[in-house]
Symmetry: C2
Subunit: 212 residues, 2 copies
DNA sequence: GTACATATGTAGCAAGCGGTACAAAAAATG
DNA sequence: CATTTTTTGTACCGCTTGCTACATATGTAC
């Protein structure tokens, strides 16, 4: 058994409180006093557990990513690339405007696009890029399987989706409503390329209409 | 003639230097020392001219908006809504990745989505919303004139465009290349609704093909 | 019990923050 | 010339920042 005085607070609860502060105020805007007050602990406890402010932030980031892992998997597991795109965009729209749970927007953007040094912005960009990569591989696979036309560019499609998603998060942080973002998601999906088989289907239907 | 010792620096040059600092470091991340050093002046000169840090930032914002006014007008003056959308998205892609002139991304996002108090984020959101409004009115006009189908929603289309634009700026700040964003713009434009006349034109062409 | 290991609260550190007091400097006005 | 008005550089203010020294509290191991 581990010896020593036991920790007097729940790490996960504390991380959730800290996440809320970083989310609302950004990395730089969140002061140690803000954080310790929200977490209900004193500075030495924070430093003993997370080393420093950046360590705390990275722990928050890990927890954030863990919480979003299920959603990403749901997106990747969708039967078609089109379904993946739809679940992704509509899910982001819903999650970015979820009234309880979290502030509007996305922690990966709110906490800092820019900073006195670039380390945190870079870290956040890395996390975002990971998801873009996952989508790209999903779509590359879809193209190999004929679910996407050969003319489709998996990298471009993935980039397009995360671009729209990031934009929706910006809109959400500025007060956009869930329904408004759902409409954006719907519009964005209209750009999705039609698969070869679907194209053929359409052509045949047209031909049938003309013949009939 | 105005009496007193003349100002020893060019206000517009100083604002450009300050803009660069705010752009790269964000509002909070830009310290007074950073700003005065970049502007080549001492603190008292800054305070005499711009009141305080927030005053300087608002002056920078005004200058930023003035510089972008021509581009916005070009977008609104385009002959069709579709052309407006294309000029807008491709222009944003180009401007967000312009290597000289400015850091990558967009000042209205880089300088702060979140902050210790919400005043700057709100101000930035207001500026972004202004452009969305201008686009909405452009598209509402286009619908009245038959350039957009009656089924099209001008507000949704405007929101969609600024969402994609904001997303592209996020991508640019994370290092995305100009060509990559141009592809995103191209994809996003594929979602643009077809006008009634264009639809009719297509149908007639199909009919002609079938007839021929 | 005693010894040890870890966590906690108080109190405070050096450094940097946004902002300013003050006197010298540089122009127009008479 | 002296006067007035504004800007400039130096030097500094009070405050907050991220962070820590230190003594005490609270657990396990023996």
């Amino acid at each position: 058994m581990k010896t020593g005085r036991p920790r007097g607070f729940c790490v996960e609860n504390a991380l959730d409180r800290a996440m809320d502060v970083f989310w609302r105020k950004g990395y730089q805007g969140a002061s140690l006093s803000d954080l310790t007050e929200a977490m209900g602990i004193n500075a030495p406890s924070l430093y003993a557990c997370f080393d420093n402010k950046e360590g705390l932030f990275r722990a928050v980031l890990d927890r954030y990513e863990a919480a979003g892992k299920g959603f990403l998997q749901e997106v990747l597991d969708a039967p078609t690339s089109r379904a993946s795109a739809e679940i992704f965009l509509k899910g982001v729209a819903a999650r970015a405007t979820d009234p309880d749970n979290h502030p509007p927007g996305c922690l990966l953007l709110q906490s800092g696009l820019a900073g006195e040094d670039q380390r945190i912005p870079n870290e956040l960009a890395r996390h975002r890029a990971e998801k873009e990569l996952a989508l790209r591989e999903r779509f590359a696979c879809a193209r190999r399987e004929g679910d996407l036309p050969q003319s489709a560019d998996p990298a471009a499609l993935a980039r397009y989706l995360v671009t729209v998603a990031n934009g929706m998060c910006v809109q959400a942080s500025a007060g956009a409503q869930a329904e408004e973002l759902q409409m954006v998601a719907g519009l964005a999906l209209a750009a999705w390329p039609t698969s070869e088989t679907a194209k053929r289907g359409k052509k045949e239907k047209h031909k049938a209409d003309a013949d009939g």
